[in-house]
Structures are given as structure tokens and as C-alpha cells.
Subunit: 177 residues, 2 copies
Amino acid sequence: MGQKNEVNPIWACRGFPAFPVVLAAMGDGNGDGEKNIITVVLCHMFSFNPPVLGIGVSPSRHSYALLDKSDDFSINVPGKELVEEVLFCGQKSGKDINKFEECGFTYTKGKKIKSPVLPECMVNLECKKVNKIDAGDHTWFLGEVVHAEMENGIDRTRALMYWSGEFRVIGDIIRRR
Amino acid sequence: MGQKNEVNPIWACRGFPAFPVVLAAMGDGNGDGEKNIITVVLCHMFSFNPPVLGIGVSPSRHSYALLDKSDDFSINVPGKELVEEVLFCGQKSGKDINKFEECGFTYTKGKKIKSPVLPECMVNLECKKVNKIDAGDHTWFLGEVVHAEMENGIDRTRALMYWSGEFRVIGDIIRRR
């Protein structure tokens, strides 16, 4: 084991390798009103059965107000070929532009939710909001997965990951359970 | 984009590539009482400032009762050389064995918490409990990081990841932000 140094707790996040980065899409709760897409790296499974996913979004973001109003949202897992779109949707605000048009995403309604899904992504998870948690500088919205679609024979090594300024894919399997 | 199929929402988790896997360590709240280590893949940063981390643990686990009693816990990021210990701490119960002894982890008190930390890991994050969230089959404990130690010149490509039965490391950088 290497020599350790104390670091400022604010830098605690730097100690993690990478997390899956996803595109969350949501409407304003009406189905036909405003829609937006936001890049989210604060995303995890919260429960397997029932299947519950959570996303953490800063209240300063344009998507926050939409998520707050909406009963649902979608989580879409992008492949590495979408890295420029993922970067774009993380850096630009939906207040100023239409990210569906700018990124060339096919606008597609969810099957069981009013929010859109992104068919260009490898996985589309339709979530109904079940909880909202204020966790500090990010608020987490939890949603139960009510409909899920995945690419046939999904190749997880194509999925995009992100942390600390670096987009990556996952590497070698070193052990199976 | 590949052809998609509807899948059972319960399988939604299979659509993610991998998440960092960590070792959480906790006591029974007294500092000198029972201690345990549990392997956790449900772990994420919840907030950057203040720095808040969360871990999801099933109420059926021995560690759950300890976490529930304790005011704090540690999150420790293992390198890939600890893959067997990580597997062991995920499969065995602290009810039956002493995981510190079995795994050869040096028992080490936290600097700012009563729970132990694991010096053999690349990163040690000492957390004070700030929230508890029932999310379905897992309960999430959120903790503010009050003390952090990291290996000098930390190499994130050594950190262990896990999902769907596969231990991995992260792969290539495909884009910097």
C-alpha cells in the first residue's frame, strides 16, 4: 500500500475511479410542454426489487425545476459514440437551446411515462418519481423503473463512464464472482 | 444504435457498465465494541460541497444494525490487489467471523470518527451520519466526510469496480472534458 496524505474532505470525490454517466430526460409534467435532457454522473441503483434509480441534480440547473414539476423522468445509458452529445448536454443549458435538436436525438415519448426517452442510447429506463432527497449541493430524485428497454446482446464495454474530467469506458474483467 | 427489446424492470440494473466497489467499516457506536466490514457497490457521492457520501445496505445484513446504531462509518476504496478480500467481505457475515482477522486488515481507528478505517485501501473517507433513506430493498446511509486520506499520486486505474458478477478496473480515457 502506498503512503497516504490527509486531503481536504471537499476533495473526497477525487478518490473514486469513475461512475456510469447517463442522460436523463424529462418534461414539465404535461407530456406536450417543455422537454429537456441533462447529463448526470450522480446516478445509481437504489433498490433492486422494487427497481429504484436515483439521480442527483443541482437546484441551479434548468432541469431541476422540470424534474420538480414532473411525475417521471427517463434514464438513458449512452454508448461511447455519444461522448460529444453527453459533454454538450452537461455544459449547455436547456434554458437557451433545444438539446433534442442540437444533438439530433429522435424525440420519442416514453411507453409508460410522459417524459421522453432517448432511443439513440443503449438502455432506456422509464422512472416514476417516488422520493426527493436534499443531500447538500445536489438534490436526488428517486424513481421506480416502470418500463425498461435494452439493446439486444448489450455490450457493457461500450457504455460511457465519467469522473474528474475524464470520459472512459470500463476495462478488463479481473475476477468473476 | 442496436435493436432494442423490452426487459423486465427488475433487470434494469443490468444495463449499467460497472460501479466503484468499496469496503465500508463501522463499529457499534462505542468505539471499543463490535466492528465489521461490508463490501458495498451501492455507493456514490451525494454532494460535493458539503462532501456527502451514501451507501446502500440491505436491512438483512449484519452491518445494517451496526450502521443503524453508529454515528459514523468509513468508506474505503480498495485497489484491485484486494479483490479476494472484497469478495470475501461481501459473501461472509460478520455475525460468524472477524473480517479484520480473516482478511488481514490492520485494525485502525479513524482520526475523527469512532468507526475503523482500512489502511490497506487506496482511500479512507471518514463519514458522520447525516441521513437515512429507505429506498426499497436497500436502505441508504448518508454521511458527511469529516476526514479524508489518499495515497500520494493516486492511480485511479488500480481501483476496483464491480457489477453483475464481474470485477473490473476502468479502461481507456476516450475524451477529456
